[in-house]
């Protein structure tokens, strides 16, 4: 059983390298501007997968889709530009915060833009 798994893992390691070399999902710059695609079911598929996976962390404090039910600010009605500027302001310290500065410093400007694009009110990605 264990041996079988090991062989199997090795096979997967090789096949996955080929897969990665043809895939842009990991590079923030590549995935930022890609066009929305339609799935087989005709549904909108997320076009900003990296923005999505980064953005999902935010909702633990700010609520699902950025719609807060408590005292923490919502951003579900904000534009991407507003959110991006706010995040960069937290990161530089220009904008006062208790905890947001501590978070925003963990991201590159490109990553903050991907997050803002994911949440912005005109985004179809949520």
């Amino acid at each position: 059983m264990v041996v079988k798994l090991r062989v199997w893992l090795t096979v997967c390691a090789f096949s996955s390298v080929a897969l990665v070399s043809g895939n842009a999902a990991l590079a923030a710059k590549d995935s930022g501007g890609s066009k929305p695609a339609k799935s087989a079911q005709g549904k909108q598929v997320e076009s900003n997968p990296r923005g999505q996976v980064l953005a999902l962390s935010c909702t633990s404090c700010h609520g699902t889709d950025g719609k807060s039910v408590g005292i923490i600010p919502s951003f579900n009605t904000r534009s991407s530009a507003y959110i991006e500027a706010a995040l960069k302001g937290f990161k530089s310290g220009e904008r006062y915060s208790t905890v947001m500065g501590r978070h925003a410093k963990g991201y590159s400007d490109d990553e903050l833009r991907l997050i803002a694009n994911y949440f912005g009110k005109t985004s179809n990605n949520k």
């Binding site: 590079a27 404090c61 807060s68």
Partner: protein, 430 residues
């Protein structure tokens, strides 16, 4: 500074073999662009409930079954507030109705007793066998009952509650505090690292002190700690001096904090420095991954589950993802915030794997708020990136509430702690 995983790093991560199982989809019977997309989630706590909700939210074509024996889940977060009299058990009760009705998760009130990772089946206590294309396991913690002489599961359930899984244990400890005389001695005994919610025991001491100061001011709290330092130590100690002077005594491992044995009949504890008589004893025993993780062979020698940090897929059993306290998530603490964040990352990864695509490199985040008093909050935050070494904290980000924070800031953090609770339970169960 940037925590984007470079193509080169990512390839290294893959080749290390650690990450390889993320792409198990290519080598398994679950082919790319899977026509069958069944995910079973074991455990409806912070990790499992978030994963179940987000799988359905991100891809409604995935069918999701959640196995959780409890109809009501009492959250550990805010259970210390219950002990301090600031919240009731009703305030920390979560149910599965939104997951069932709004997100159409098939919630089964039962426990998983066996997992066949090769065949892709989970067996339930009630006898039912459920097939899956991918499985998420989030069983939380179990306790190592046999590490302290005189202590056992039955001692914990009758006399020395751990209150580290919220529910009847929280009620028992709360009732003991309510019944205690003015001038009583409360002992809190945290374990060595790693354990669930590193600031938990110290927030607990703070909020119990708040109750005792108001109602039983002659009482004392003594923390017997095997460690030499603890989470947010400077902030806690400063808060204790300001709000509860002389009431909380913390003894480190080298100054008598190590437990040698306990005696439930006489309600006494023996440390390397002598015997202590107590009125209330809260032992938080050492921990390991929840039982089903052991039964399914998902754990390693540490007693926790090794995973690939891109997708939280087990490095032992491809197709099975382990999230939350049970997983070995590098620098991330075992917290509800972390578990929920990992649940969402695993959900997003599974959506992509079913599409035959590589998951996007996640970032992981944690914020742990602790209350020292009703208007006195502190926090520790962290942002984590993936490297070939696994999940590491980004040094430029995160950190603590400043030690010189003024009262307005401490009050704001206490308010944000409440705001965080409202949103995380909504984001996870609502």
């Amino acid at each position: 500074m940037s925590h984007t995983l470079s193509r080169r790093d990512f390839n290294k991560l893959l080749l290390s073999g650690v990450a390889a199982s993320a792409f198990g989809i290519l080598g398994s019977s679950n082919t790319a662009f899977a026509s069958s997309k069944r995910v079973v989630v074991v455990g409806g706590g912070f990790g499992g409930a978030a994963a179940a909700k987000y799988l359905r939210k991100l891809d409604p074509s995935i069918s999701v079954t959640l196995i959780e024996p409890k109809a009501i889940f009492y959250t550990c977060p805010f259970s210390n507030w219950v002990l301090g009299g600031l919240k009731t058990m009703e305030d920390i009760a979560q149910t599965y109705s939104a997951l069932k009705n709004k997100y159409k998760v098939n919630v089964i009130a039962d426990s998983a007793v066996a997992i066949d990772a090769v065949r892709g089946t989970v067996k339930l206590k009630g006898g039912q066998v459920i097939g899956f294309d991918r499985l998420i396991v989030s069983p939380g913690i179990d306790f190592k009952w046999d590490t302290i002489p005189g202590y056992s599961e039955s001692v914990a359930s009758a006399k020395m509650p751990h209150a580290y899984q919220a529910g009847p244990q929280t009620v028992l400890l709360h009732n003991q505090l309510l019944a205690m005389k003015n001038g009583g001695r409360v002992f809190i005994c945290p374990p060595a690292n790693p354990f669930r919610c590193p600031p938990g025991p110290y927030e607990r001491a703070s909020l119990i002190a708040g109750y005792l100061k108001a109602k039983k001011p002659l009482s004392k709290i003594i923390i017997l700690d095997p460690k030499e330092k603890f989470s947010k130590q400077g902030l806690f100690k400063k808060g204790w001096e300001r709000l509860y002077p002389g009431m909380i005594e913390w003894r480190s491992g080298s100054t008598g904090g190590k437990l040698v044995k306990v005696d439930a009949a006489t309600m006494s504890l023996t440390t390397e420095f002598g015997v202590e008589n107590a009125d209330v004893i809260n032992i938080i025993p050492p921990q390991k991954a929840g039982k089903i993780a052991f039964d399914a062979g998902l754990t390693d020698a540490t007693g926790w589950c090794p995973i690939n940090p891109i997708s939280f897929e087990s490095t032992i059993h491809p197709g099975v993802h382990v999230i939350g306290d049970a997983s070995i998530a590098g620098a991330m603490p075992k917290s509800g915030f972390a578990a929920s964040s990992q649940g969402k990352v695993a959900a997003a990864a599974i959506v992509r794997l079913f599409q035959g695509k590589v998951p996007a490199a996640p970032s992981l985040v944690n914020t742990c708020y602790s209350l020292i008093g009703p208007g006195y909050g502190i926090s520790v935050a962290g942002v984590y990136k993936l490297t070939v070494e696994g999940i590491v904290e980004i040094p430029e980000a995160g950190g603590l509430t400043p030690i010189n924070a003024d009262d307005d800031q401490l009050r704001e953090e206490a308010n944000f702690a409440r705001g965080w609770y409202s949103n995380i339970v909504q984001d996870t169960w609502g």
